[in-house]
Amino acid sequence: MEFLVAATHEEVSRAVARFGELLPAGLQAQDGHAVEIAMAEILTNIVEHGYGGAGGPSIRVLWHPGERQLDVEVWDQGRPIPADRLSAVRAEFDPADLAALPESGFGLELIRSAFDKVEYEQGPPYNRLLLSKKVS
C-alpha cells in the first residue's frame, strides 16, 4: 500500500491512525502500540525538523503488513536526520529532578525500539527510512 501524507500535523495524525488500523493481525498489541507511536514520531519529525514546520512536499509511505513481517518505507525531501542523532543513546533522566525532565527527544529512541530493523539513506533528493518488524 502506498500513502502520500501532506506535511502537516493534522494529516500526520490521520495517517498514523490509519496505520494503527492496518497493523498485521498477528502483531501483539504492545508491539502494535509501539509501531503506531513510532510512525507518529517519524512523520512528526519530518514535519517539524525535516521541513522546519513550514510545510513541504508530501511524505510517501509504503506500508506492507505481511503475515510474518511488517515492512515500511518512508520517503521525504526535507533536511536529513543528523547522523549523530541516529546513533544517540537512550535519554537518561532523574525522575525526581523536576526542572531537568525532558519534554522532547524521545522520538528516535521510540523508533529504534519499535522496529527490528531501522536503516536510513539520506538525500538529496530523497531521504529514505527502511523499517521492519517481525510478527511473532
Binding site: V12, S13, G20, A29, I37, A99, E103, S104, F106
Partner: protein
C-alpha cells in the same frame, strides 16, 4: 472544540482531555489550556485520560510541561491510561515520573490525602 473538560473533586482539579489522539496536532492547544489553569492557581491536578486512545511524544511533552508549570509545590496524577497511552509512559520511563492510577477515584484520593 474545547481541548479539555474540568471538574473539581475534594479540592483537586480533574482535567479530562477530550481528543481521541493527544499528538502533535492536538498537544499545543491542550498544553496551553492546562498551563493557564495552573497559572490561575490549580496546582493539584488529576489528568483523566479515558477519552485519549493514543499519545505520542509531543503529547507526553505537553504533560511534562504541565508538571513543571505546577512546580515542586504542585502535584499531578494520571488515571485511566490504557493501551497505546500506557505503552508510551512505559517506553519513555515517564511512568516513574507520573503516578498512574487505575481510576479517577484513586487518583483524586491520592492528591486529596
Amino acid at each position: 472544540m474545547e481541548a479539555l473538560e474540568v471538574s473539581r473533586d475534594r479540592g483537586v482539579a480533574v482535567v479530562t482531555p477530550t481528543m481521541k489522539r493527544l499528538d502533535a496536532a492536538a498537544a499545543p492547544a491542550f498544553k496551553q489550556a492546562v498551563v493557564e489553569l495552573v497559572q490561575a492557581g490549580e496546582r493539584r491536578l488529576v489528568l483523566d485520560l479515558h477519552k485519549v486512545g493514543f499519545l505520542d511524544s509531543s503529547g507526553l511533552g505537553a504533560l511534562v510541561s504541565i508538571l513543571k508549570a505546577a512546580g515542586s509545590q504542585g502535584a499531578i496524577a494520571v488515571c485511566n491510561a490504557e493501551g497505546a497511552v500506557l505503552s508510551l509512559f512505559k517506553l519513555t520511563r515517564m511512568d516513574k515520573v507520573f503516578p498512574i492510577l487505575a481510576s479517577r477515584e484513586e487518583a483524586v484520593g491520592r492528591l486529596a490525602a
